[in-house]
Symmetry: C2
Subunit: 232 residues, 2 copies
Amino acid sequence: MAGEGDVKLLGLLVSPFVLRVRMALQMKGVSYEYIEEDILDKGELLLRYNPVHKKVPVLIHNGVPLCESQIIIQYIDEVWAAEPSILPADPYERATARFWAAYVDDKLFPAWLGILKATTEEGRAEKVQETLAVVEQLEVALAQCSNGKPFFAGDSVGFLDLVVGCNLLWFEALRRMFGVTFVVAGKTPLLASWAERFRGTEAAREVMPDADQAVEFAKKLMARLGSAPVPN
Amino acid sequence: MAGEGDVKLLGLLVSPFVLRVRMALQMKGVSYEYIEEDILDKGELLLRYNPVHKKVPVLIHNGVPLCESQIIIQYIDEVWAAEPSILPADPYERATARFWAAYVDDKLFPAWLGILKATTEEGRAEKVQETLAVVEQLEVALAQCSNGKPFFAGDSVGFLDLVVGCNLLWFEALRRMFGVTFVVAGKTPLLASWAERFRGTEAAREVMPDADQAVEFAKKLMARLGSAPVPN
């Protein structure tokens, strides 16, 4: 396949940023070597290939590193340009997908991560409310983008589906840990049925781990940060 | 010109985010109506067209709004696709430009804005150091991206030049207010000569206001925020 060459991915099994890149590679049929990194004790490879942010994912294509998941997915879509396309073809739809994708990483991720990082029960409850508010806004975005079709991108999974969808693993982990539910048919019906469809895609089934693995990682992170304990 | 139609821009004369979009429109030869917004007292147009972030710039193309400056510039480059190209053609160079552009908005802008927002002299001095550290990192980025050519994008101004360059107005404003200099030939020689070239481009000369206008806006913002006063 054009441009394939040698592809490695430095990742973390439960990272939503890594999962979206793995789904993009799966959708494009790209073979790659996956290398799990311990992000609580960063290794030499990660520091060498992403010295600016020291974060996963890092895609290493023919020896050259690429960082930042949204940028990596656009790169994958441009290098392995055969169908399926991940970004929409229309400039306005591309801009809209990029707008909401930036919104998700700026607002949704910090909100739910804040639930894990909170040092008090009150602080945690605030972050739950913040997450719910972002999810409500995403219901509006889904109505706007999908225009009655099954996915944000239309008839099949695209850029924004990947960016939003890989947070679902953590919604399920947070439900198991704290009993909070973020996407329910009664409040965000479009997102609820979209989430079912997203989880059922071949790419998601192939890369998405069981939420217990996210729970296990969350507990290690919370111990490290000195977060408020998980209620019994 | 293909796709031109009716173009309006909601902006703020001294915003680096607005300036980069105006430079992109100028480079592409797009005619547009410019509408100055008072972002300290937001008007109905801004709230209607950017309800999520309520920020400038907003590009309104044939009645449809687009927000977030980096996304708008990519849209402009895709809709008005004739030369000059703003994004590089090569996927790896595109990814690299996007990576550093995200870095600038995540790290450089909050660092220098922090100088204005600081409520103590110590807090301000910290933000000056933070800004200097980001500038040093951008010297490395310029060496990597330009590969000996005059601009980040090569022989002429491109995406990353616009994103970095529009901060130069504020570097000059901060110099006039606080006597700090961020880009000097002795410490960041590549950036210093790049900055001269950038300011000399037709697009920059056409849209960049005098730094005294940024100083005037900064004083209003600082009064609003209750920042530490400007030393005499």
